[in-house]
Amino acid sequence: MRVSELLSEDRILLDLDASTKEEVWYAMASVLYEAGVVTDLEAYLKDVEAREKMGTTGVGHGVAIPHAKSSAVKSPGLAMARTKKGIDVSSLDGSLADIFFLIAAPLDADKVYLQALSKLARLLMHDSFRDGLRSAGESKEILRVIASLEEEMDK
């Protein structure tokens, strides 16, 4: 399964106006809630919070990937946000995050889906990928960036 298949235009929030990471989480989780991926918004956010407490998901390079395996998730889903300004997510490298990927996984998430997510995680480690996400003008372009780099990686 491809990352670009897990994400869709309506799950990408560009130029999000937020000042705390909780606000960003809420905005992204709401999108997944409306899409029917998350069945209980509050419960899901609680699980994300709990995961965050185990160690920051601010992975540095201005990227954060809040995620949780949760009983409040019906099917696997992904949402992305790009914020107007950098947000403190207690990053590993101290950087402020402006790129967020929220990952929702059901408790019994299957392997295919997990592999797609692991690919996303790998992509994020490449400068060219992050630059692409930052310079994209619209949601469509984000999807294109993901698809093209994904293809390159599969080679």
Binding site: G55, V59, R122, H126
Partner: protein, 355 residues
């Protein structure tokens, strides 16, 4: 250029594991090193390091937030860090690792490991399975054998008196331990071939070998048949995904046991039993006037592969004729000891000449 192997792992196994892996790869590329990264994520182990990979590696990097078993890296310089550090700057972690990775185990341990790894690499296929089986019965044989010997210490017929300590010891050694020997042998041969699902048909087949008097040879046959049968069944039985859970608990054990069991009873049992009887008779007939030759033969069988299958065949015979065995085993050991003492200087020479 250095060769690096790495393992990454994190508690959820969804993201950090893979980011750390990728970051290390990117870093290694930048610095011009060769790297292979094994990821232990929630979709299982991917890109698994082989023994060869590890052997060739100059250093090992563990970037994990969970406990990673490092026993397979014994003797290699290991550098441990968190996934966070690896994600933050893969190149920096690699630089630091190359500078300060340390060998945790003492050197001689690693040397021994290397030797045994080399040996186990040679022991492939049938011989390896056989040795897995044999190595699992050794403790049983030792415990049981000594119990029997202790029983004899009360007098050679002491065990015949019911309720005595000698009888109890005989029951422990002869009744329980030696009854287990063949089933366990067969069970672990099958286990070695087919992993856990092999154990049930192997054990049961081995027990049948006991019951129909096919003994050690029957156990060997049962173990190998059970192991390869399970492998084959695993490959050829295709169940719908919803029923896959039944494979290890019902389908594999039932069918493999049925097939092995029926084969043992109707097909293999009789010829193997006669072969075993022939072997025993042959050896026994020598035990009168030719006792010395028998002793030599048994001793030679024991020493031939020092604990291997030939040794054990001789052993099973000798179990019923305990005295021979004890002497034969002593022959091997004492001879070795003498040789080592006498030849010590030249052995040391030989050792350094070994590749």
């Amino acid at each position: 250029m250095s060769k690096i192997v790495a393992v990454t792992a994190c508690p959820t196994g969804i993201a950090h594991t893979y980011m750390a892996a990728e970051s290390l790869k990117v870093g290694a590329q930048k610095l011009g090193h060769e790297i292979k990264v094994e990821t232990m994520g929630s979709s299982g182990v991917e890109n698994q390091l082989t023994e060869g990979d590890i052997a060739q590696a100059d250093i090992v990097i563990i970037a994990a937030d969970t406990n990673v078993d490092t026993s397979r890296f014994a003797g290699k310089p290991i550098y441990s860090t968190s996934t966070g550090m690896a994600i933050k700057d893969g190149a920096a972690v690699i630089k630091e690792a190359l500078k300060s990775a340390t060998v945790t185990a003492e050197r001689y341990i690693s040397e021994t490991k290397e030797i045994s790894a080399r040996r186990s690499a040679q022991r492939t296929g049938v011989y390896k399975h056989l040795m897995t089986g044999v190595s699992h019965i050794i403790p049983i044989v030792v415990a049981g054998g000594i119990c029997i010997a202790l029983s004899f210490a009360f007098g050679i017929h002491a065990a015949e008196e019911e309720g005595s300590l000698a009888a109890a010891l005989m029951q422990i050694g002869g009744g329980a331990a030696f009854t287990l020997m063949v089933p366990v042998l067969a069970g672990y041969i099958a286990y070695s071939i087919a992993d856990r699902p092999g154990l049930a048909p192997g054990l049961i087949g081995g027990m049948l070998a006991n019951q129909i008097g096919a003994g050690f040879l029957g156990g060997l046959a049962a173990g190998f048949i059970a192991g390869y049968l399970v492998l084959w069944l695993k490959k050829s039985i295709k169940l719908p995904k919803s029923l896959e859970g039944l494979m290890p608990v019902l389908v594999l054990p039932l069918f493999s046991t049925l097939i092995v069991g029926l084969l043992m009873v109707y097909v293999i049992g009789t010829p193997v039993k006669s072969a075993m009887d022939w072997l025993t008779e042959g050896l026994k007939s020598m035990s009168g006037a030719n006792a010395a030759i028998l002793g030599l033969l048994l001793g030679a069988m024991m020493a031939l592969d020092m604990g291997g299958p030939v040794n054990k065949a001789a052993y099973t015979f000798a179990v019923g004729n305990l005295g021979f065995y004890v002497i034969a085993i002593l022959v091997g050991t004492i001879t070795t000891a003498l040789l080592v003492t006498i030849l010590k200087p030249s052995l040391a020479q030989a050792k350094t000449n070994m590749p």
